[in-house]
């Protein structure tokens, strides 16, 4: 699920970086305001814990084994804002040290797993007030949201994929999401037994219900919105048929407005404009993060 560099089109990685950078700056500010520097070593060690917990193999039937992804577990342990920051630190370390996921694609990976994945995990947990059902659904929705977003981003970027592969990957996502749910539940139950009170009890109340329900719907529909942006992807998923004209439409449509015009217009002018645009957007990204950082320092 870690998207490496070289897969996403310029449009997709620029937009996701643009969403992820200020988002993480805001969440960092929130987590810091709530917990102050007391939390820094704890969050770092929790990130290392998720890395290490990924080394523990869980049997997943048929002799295969699986491991925890951890975004949902972190959000139940630390709350969504701090969990997002820890997941971001994990993703950045994986991209830099292990070449697991790209640097330009880091925005997309952060958006999928550290922002959408963490919140999609926290909402059902808060909705069911930290019960076992809530823990299972936390793992399930966290992984499912992240996986659907990652697949949608790849499809929008014009990565060619036979239509049959789409249904196979959806089935695979469902299985892995159920496994992640079971693992989140199992580990959380074991944690409760060893160290009672370590799970954060979500804030109760009717408003929390409504807000979390609404946000859950928004998040899941956002995932589908991405997918239905390219209706032929869903169509082929429904039909499961590898008809060649469907395949060509699958390839042609994402390249429709960007790459095709890239070729039709004088290439030099177009690519100059594209690169200048990227630089401007990156500058904006920096400026927004910087402004947020500046207000944080004044506030501190």
């Amino acid at each position: 699920m870690h998207i490496p560099d070289g897969y996403l089109s310029t449009r997709v990685w620029v937009i996701t970086d643009l969403v992820a950078a200020p988002g993480i700056a805001l969440l960092a500010r929130r987590a810091q305001a709530k917990f102050n520097h007391h939390l820094i070593p704890l969050m770092g060690v929790m990130g290392a814990f998720v890395f290490a917990a990924q080394m523990i193999n869980f049997p997943a039937g048929n002799g295969t084994s699986s491991h925890l992804v951890g975004a949902a577990l972190l959000s139940c342990l630390l709350g969504p804002a701090a969990a997002s920051i820890v997941m971001t630190a994990i993703l950045a370390t994986q991209a830099l040290v292990f070449q697991d996921g790209g640097l330009l694609a880091l925005g997309a990976n952060i958006f999928n797993m550290a922002i959408a994945g963490v919140f999609a995990g926290y909402l059902p947990y808060a909705m069911f007030r930290g019960s076992r059902v809530g823990l299972f659904l936390a793992g399930f929705f966290s992984l499912m949201t992240a996986a659907v977003l990652a697949l949608s981003e790849l499809l929008i970027s014009g990565v060619a994929m036979p239509p049959a592969m789409l249904s196979v990957s959806f089935a695979w996502f469902l299985v892995s999401a159920a496994i992640e749910g079971a693992l989140t539940l199992a580990v959380a139950v074991a944690l409760e037994r060893i160290q009672p009170g370590c799970l954060r009890k979500p804030v109760a109340g009717g408003r929390a219900w409504a807000v979390s329900g609404l946000a859950a719907v928004l998040l899941s529909s956002a995932g589908w919105l991405f997918a239905s942006d390219r209706p032929d992807g869903l169509e082929s998923l429904a039909l499961k048929a590898g008809i060649s004209n469907r395949v060509t439409s699958l390839i042609a449509s994402p390249f429709g407005d960007y790459q095709a015009s890239f070729v039709a217009n004088p290439r030099l002018a177009k690519s100059v404009a594209g690169l200048a645009g990227i630089l401007v957007i990156y500058g904006l990204c920096m400026a927004i993060s910087r402004a947020i950082g500046a207000t944080r320092r004044e506030g501190a």
Binding site: P4, G44, V45, F51, I85, A89, V159, P162, A190
Partner: protein, 235 residues
């Protein structure tokens, strides 16, 4: 360990090692942007980037074949996508993905192989990445190996006690994760107490102050210029 080798390389003293980390991060990003937008028909630009990156690796006195091999970690995953493009009737897109992801990984490996971890984090902070996040990354990196080794030791101990009792395996694994969590939690609290005792107030002092020099400016412009020029001019 893969990254133990990177850490071994990153302590060098070559021209590339001595550049300001923020300058290296900027150059890396420009390389990545240029590479990620390569079209399947732009083989010449791809070859140019490969030559420049290899030349940089040898100028930094790194073992070039092993650097190329370290970047090849991304190739198996890319092969899957290349095969899918092939079956979807667009083999040239699959090849483009393999080339782009390998060149991108090569760029990242070069950044990591010429920049020590504390310097890299200082560079990120200089580029306005939130300091809170940078410090979490610092602790994560510091305790990564410690906890991975602990997990490995626990796995060995569990295997020697219980063997391969498959009915118990799932419960055993979740209990292991629980124990690992409790130990990590305790360790984090001990670390924080020790830091508080040493006067920690949210900022970690550095031994060496990094300054941007004229050489850093030349380094950035000398590389960014040709990289962008090739990307824009070559058809």
């Amino acid at each position: 360990m893969r990254h133990a080798r990177l850490e071994l390389w990153s302590r060098g003293t070559s021209f590339a090692h001595r550049r300001h980390p923020a300058a290296k991060i900027l150059v890396t990003l420009v390389f990545l942007i240029a590479i990620s937008s390569l079209h399947p028909s732009q083989a010449r630009a791809a070859i140019f980037y490969f030559v420049v990156l290899t030349a940089l690796a040898s100028a930094a006195k790194l073992p070039v074949p092993r650097v190329l091999l370290a970047a090849a970690v991304v190739l198996p995953f890319a092969c899957v996508f290349a095969l899918m493009s092939f079956f979807a009737g667009a083999p040239e897109k699959g090849i483009a993905i393999m080339v782009r992801s390998w060149l991108s990984a090569l760029t990242t490996v070069l950044l990591m192989a010429t920049t020590a971890q504390p310097d890299l984090l200082a560079g990120l902070e200089a580029l306005r990445v939130p300091r809170f996040l940078v410090q979490v990354m610092q602790f994560l990196y510091r305790y990564l190996l410690v906890l991975i080794e602990e997990a490995g030791a626990m796995r060995a101990a569990a295997a020697s006690r219980a063997g391969k009792a498959s009915t118990l395996e799932f419960r055993r694994a979740s209990a292991a994760a629980g124990v690992l969590f409790a130990r990590s939690w305790g360790r984090a609290n001990a670390i924080h107490q020790a830091m508080t005792a040493r006067g920690f107030t949210g900022h970690i002092p550095r031994f060496r102050v990094l300054r941007i020099t004229a050489a850093d400016v030349w380094f950035v412009f000398g590389l960014v210029g040709p990289v962008l020029a090739v990307r824009l001019v070559l058809p």
